[in-house]
Amino acid sequence: MLDVLAIASRNLLRYRRRTLLTLLLIVIGMVAVLLFVAVAGSFKAMMVGQFTDSVLGHLQVHRKGYVASIDNLPLNLNMSAAMVAKTEEALKANPLVETWSPRIKFGGMFSNFAETTSIRINGIDPAREAATVPLLPGRLIEGDKAKPLVERGNILIPVLLARGMNTKVGDTVVVVATNRDGSVNGKTFVVQGILEGVTGPGGRDGYMHIDDARALLRMSDAEISEVAVRLKDFSRLGQADKQFKQTLGESTNKEGKQTIEVHTWAELSPFANLARMIDLMTLFIKIMLVSIVLVSVMNVMMMAVFERIREIGTIAAIGTPPGRILSLFLAEGLMLGVVGTAAGIIFSLAAIFGINVWSPTFAFGQQQNLVMAPTIAAGDVLAIAAMVVAVAVLASLQPAWKASRMDPISALRHV
């Protein structure tokens, strides 16, 4: 094999300019793909992180039917205390779970005594919510960050509401809500902080303590609207989802109907389609890379065979077996692929490092100054490298086959 590689390398160096141009094409393709995968992947991870770590959590558990009516925040579809206990039991038992946060979600009226508007509110346990969606405290753009996320008697309001209602931290406001039975109750709160809005469901909600929410809604039982779950390893979301859908999703009531349902963040957010679009674009970019490598290597190998017909005739005449001739040309394709890939990886990693040093910022939805920090997994680099090398060898197969099956007499007569 080393003999074959040694001769293949000499043959590649024979036409230096052509080999360099082919390598350049492969390198450009590799850099384009790896950069795209790194930037798009980081953007996707950041975007998904914004949804999961600011608002949604990785998974959510609801009473069956709640998600279908989630726009109405239906209090009559809250999880009962028994359902909550069953859910918490399952969450405690699962080693994939890091933590979870119960929430009461409801709609109400928000008044600053001069104007009134509607508001969506999450009643939360501040410590557990901060642990489940760790980017939430960072969204506090006004207010004391040293305090617990939201104290009893206080409220966090979204920035757009604060601006529209001309409300500041420390102001007293009134929140009025209708409970499950239809009776109305109001309660005064002090604005503890103003939250930066985020794109996606729940990104413009207000927050109050879960006990205040229960008092406002006159709840006697420990019912909740949803449980947001955070996993130890986000990459095992599919596994956890499957497990919970089997355990919690199969729980039924006396009538045998499903009572609890489990959803991943992607099933709750329309922005999951954006993430899928990024994956699709990455696939198309990879197809383009494959095409570039295929066409350029095939072209150079076909030229190599055409230009060396007499040489092929000579080595065939002196007894080189067809398989050895095949391997000589395949080795040239392999070397083009390997060298192009290696150079492509080096340039790509340098470019990714350069972007990280440069740290350009961009806006996503309402969030400004998000820093682009592209990273790429070693697995992605290896997979793309293997794909390019395999395509380079595949592209050489037809010319190599043609060379190995060449009639020595015709080849020796070729002018």
Binding site: L13, R14, E311, T314, A317, I318, P321, I409
Partner: protein
């Protein structure tokens, strides 16, 4: 026992709708360690005959045995193996591999065809380069050599795997008379040294005089066989 034996050898080509008979029933035999020339004008069938002896082509009919092997039965793979083991080739245009040095060109059959171990291979290549007087040019590339030097290297390459038979199709056609004469003398010397049979084709009357046995071909038929006074 003959090294090569042909009986009623016929080769027919089809060129479009026309059938061309390149050989029309040729009989001959070649003895071991002989120095044989097939002579005749262009199109007389010399190259066709050499191609068939070299297992590069199959006869249309008749029998052709090389080293007691019926070459008509060899498929491309076994034909390549047979050539690699028993037959050396010298070409009119030298056909050295341009990316390899003189040493590597001579080494090629042992390295890529027969897979000799390194030390044995090295000793054999140096021996052959010494024999053809090219040892001091071992590191040069073919484009740095004269025509005569290239043909010496080609002869070394043909002999390096110790074949019983070397086929040379017009080996002196691209050489001036003096160089051609020296190349033929070298081939004879190699025959004497290694006992290899040399069979070459030519239509140069000055060169054909160096052969010990001359077969004259004309229009696909063997006209006569002549033993030269060089024998």
């Amino acid at each position: 026992m003959s090294l090569v034996r042909a009986e009623q050898l016929v080769k027919t080509y089809r060129m479009g709708d026309v059938e061309v008979q390149a050989l029309k029933g040729v009989d001959f035999s070649i003895e071991p360690s002989s120095f044989v020339a097939f002579v005749g004008p262009s199109g007389s069938g010399k190259s066709t005959l050499l191609n068939m002896i070299g297992c590069l082509d199959h006869p249309s009919s008749g029998k052709l045995a090389v080293l007691d092997t019926d070459v008509a039965t060899l498929d491309p793979r076994s034909g390549a193996t047979f050539r690699g083991e028993h037959i050396g080739f010298v070409f009119q245009d030298f056909n050295l591999i341009p990316v390899l040095t003189v040493y590597e060109n001579v080494e090629y059959p042992l390295r890529m065809v027969q897979k000799w171990p390194l030390e044995k291979r090295r000793a054999q290549v140096l021996r052959l380069l010494e024999a053809v007087g090219m040892a001091d040019q071992a590191d040069k590339r073919p484009d740095q050599l004269s025509g005569g030097q290239k043909q010496r290297v080609a002869i070394a390459r043909a002999l390096v795997s110790q074949p019983k038979l070397v086929l040379a199709d017009e080996p002196t056609a691209n050489l001036d008379h003096d160089t051609a004469y020296r190349v033929l003398q070298l081939m004879k010397k190699m025959r004497d040294e290694f006992g290899t049979t040399f069979v070459f084709s030519t239509h140069d009357p000055k060169i054909m005089g160096e052969a010990e046995t001359i077969f004259t071909l004309e229009d696909g038929r063997l006209q006569n066989e002549k033993e030269s006074n060089h024998a």
